[in-house]
Amino acid sequence: MSEAVIGKSVRRKEDKRFLTGSGQYTDDVTLPRQTCAYFLRSPHAHAVIRKIDTAAAQAAPGVVAVFTGDDLAAAKVGGLPCGWLITDVNGQPMKEPPHPPLAQGKVRYVGDTVACVIAETVYQAKDAAELIDVDYEVLPAVVRPDDAIKPGAPAVHDIAPDNVCYVWSHGDKVATDQAFEHAAHVTKLDFINNRLIPNAIEPRAAVAQYSRAEDSYTLHVANQNPHVERLLMTAFVLGLPEHKVRVIAPDVGGGFGSKIYLYAEETVITWASKQVGRPIKWTAERSESFLSDAHGRDHVTHAELALDNNGKFLAMRVRTTANLGAYLSTFASCIPTILYATLLAGQYTTPAIHCEVTGVFTNTSPVDAYRGAGRPEAAFVVERLVAAAARELGIDQADLRRRNFITEFPYQTPVGLTYDAGNFNATLDEAVKLADVAGFEMRRQEAERRGKLRGLGYSCYIEACGLAPSNLAGQLGARAGLFEAGEVRVHPTGSVTVFTGSHSHGQGHETTFAQVVADRLGIAVDSVDIVHGDTGRIPFGMGTYGSRSLAVGGAAIMKALDKIIAKGSKIAAHLLEAAEADIEYDHGTFRVAGTDRGKTIAEVAFAAYVPHNYPLGELEPGLDESAFYDPTNFTYPAGSHICEVEIDPETGVTRVVNFTAVDDFGRIINPMIVEGQVHGGLAQGIGQALLENGVYDTDSGQLVTGTYMDYAMPRADDLPSFKVDTQMTPCTHNPLGVKGCGEAGAIGAPPAVINAVIDALAPRGVTHIEMPATPERVWRALQTAKPSRAKAA
């Protein structure tokens, strides 16, 4: 049985409840005597709060309480913390301005929380919020990162008058500059990595309940890491004992990073649930999600690549200004630094790399990790540079990449990572075949006859997942561990419940993890249930982000399974009157090697819980083991994506007509789930490249793309039928050999799409286009370009 479980597209166990509408999301939780919260948000990007008058709101029908920043300050509620300390180039810690859960004295972005109204119904709370009179003195606002560092720009925080949170650098500057001096060719690019708004299908939501009888709190919250949420909220903001707060993240409808963080809303209602003595529910409206979920990306970058006469990369130099938003969100500081600059080697042997990042405050929603988190930005830098260099030098796109691929592992990059395994030629070869690159010229000519422009774009990305040894992360500024925990409970009759610190919000852990356990124990997948997302039930774990669940969480479960088998072997040795050393575990049976004598795991488990014939002197009863796993290195998923676009030069409309993704995720447990993850990631990556753009008005600081009328989400008819395949080099340092697959599509796709657009437009003289490559941008590029006959490969 077990051979068939791993690598099999087992149907998702969770889909029955999701597809029949019986999932239990936070908003489905309704408690007796529940009240509803509504947050009054700032209509201004930047303003002094002169006065807040809540009297009329307090007296409005159904209102239970109204709280403002003053109430939280009086109750000594702290600010929302940042979980990663970045040290700047001068050895100084980053600027960490306070982030009060309800604004105190000033509002700093449109959507900043100003007051919380708690009422019998959400409509009463909303009606009452309209009666709150806030006297604002509106200040000038700044929204673009490059504007924020100009002299005279409005200061978002007094402690950072130049809006600079940190200037941080990475890599060897001297070696890099020297290599540039001697380079035969230098490719230079300036570009923006556009701001994205996450748009999980389930908006953020929370239900907080205080029990007077137990002096304890229960918080249901749409979140990706309930233990982290609890630790941050209790230890850093509310000053509550951790054991008196239970955080439950039930079914969660997508996160993409946006539900990692500790937000103001759940913090305020947890505190308030004791003040009002009743449970409080808050569910974001979609327009609140647009305003207040942490956004992603938003970089302005200048990048250079130095090459020798043979097209070998000599050095890379990158200067990025990264928008951090109005306050530091939970992991905001490490995304454009640690998770960005360390990936700039890509798949290549570039010997010298230097990167400088200026993290800046603006009057916009906080910016933090969003699917890929730093790595898509890095892949975009590398793959845009490589594509531009190939075009400038007239070298075939695949050929230039092959000349520079890393081929020997382990490989130490000049930006601090050690790649343990990979086969970049294999993924590129397969992608070239699958994308029918050989037939492209025919397709291009056929399109040309129809008046259309076709282009082909490559992206050979690498990412670092399963973040990473805790001690190394600590040296880099992490204020949290990065292990994962798992517990395997074998029940007396042999079925199994697994408790994991990982959290599933769409990834299918209940199936994939069950496959891992079923395979190791040689039992049926249906005999294994996975429990996650409840600090009252699971061991302390770090949750799910950065494609870490299987690589780190799965490894913790594997370690616990090893303990189960070790203990089971002892029990079986006793039952079988054999030496422990002679016991082998084989497909669900502890067997005396070389004989047909054995005990099934169910028999062993039964003996463990009904220990009548049991070595009680040497062994505790029970068959229930837990383990913590701290990875020794990142995992390095990598792949080659090839995008083919067709552009209508009359309108500027770009259609993705083919998209091929060949990825190396190491060992694959469930190919169907992996393919689904790749599809979703590609949709988001193509969305970033062609459609999505978070735009703030540069004068007023209003979010212009605050609804689906203006924020263009990719839809099914925007996307082709993807060609997806995998190559496999197992990860060498985790017990499953897995690397992670959740973010790959979002990382690989944007440069592939933009490189394809430029390839299509190059014969008309276009060399640059910003994301998203909207029809007007493409049309304008065609109007202003100088046609050139020089078409490079």
Binding site: Y123, D127, S287, E650, T651, L691, N693, V695, V704, T705, Y708, M709, D710, Y711, A712, M713, D718, T774, P775, E776, W779, R780
Partner: protein, 268 residues
Amino acid sequence: MHAFEFQRPKDLKHAATLARKTENARLLAGGQSLLPTMRLRLASPDAMIDLGGLQELRGIRLEGTQLVIGAMTRHAEVAASKDVMMAIPALAHLAADIGDRQVRNMGTLGGSLANDDPAADYPAAVLGLGATVNTYKRAIPADKFFKGLYETALRSGEIIVSVSFPLVKRAAYAKFKNPASRFAIVGVFVSETAGNVRVAVTGAGAAGVFRAKDMEKKLAANFALEAIAKSRISPDKLTSDIHASAEYRSHLITVMAQRAVAAALVGK
């Protein structure tokens, strides 16, 4: 959404009386624009007068040289109607591409015209076909109906009963969609009757739907793509937003007009 009083008149006369007598009331047709606006609390009527039960406002029928469509006819009904398909196929195609499936199943012809969203599709058809908007008290020619952004010739409480579309030799609608909302960034409706061509543009005008008279003249002389290749609407009269500048819209109007002419010529 704020609380409001919901009224369901039993016939047109009753509806007209309620509309005249109720303070701060709004007529509810399909609700596809009004209800989201109310949900965002940008509109807060005290009363809603639901036109959904009025049989006088339903139905599609051919009356001589006119195709008459009741104001409460849903977009999906127009799209699926054999009569519309036979009489003015361009109108059925236009209706089939409004919004999304949910919008088409609820949204109505009369609601769309009364709202007069500058990016709506139906105003282009009504103006581009030279239709007549019939209210319960008068008939308003298309050229006099549209008055600007969200503004029409309708008086307060005046209810649209039907729209009469003249049958034409050929017609077509070409739309360039906003990638986010899928409303028209530019939509051009072209029709030809004996010697008479109308070209109406939606989505682009700073003052709402308008006729492209230069294109009409050139197409009347020669109903062909090349006739309007150089005809441009000045960006000064057009709208600009993050999705499309006035200059780009000006360019797209010519491209979409040509595509509409091409479609009309092949009888689509």
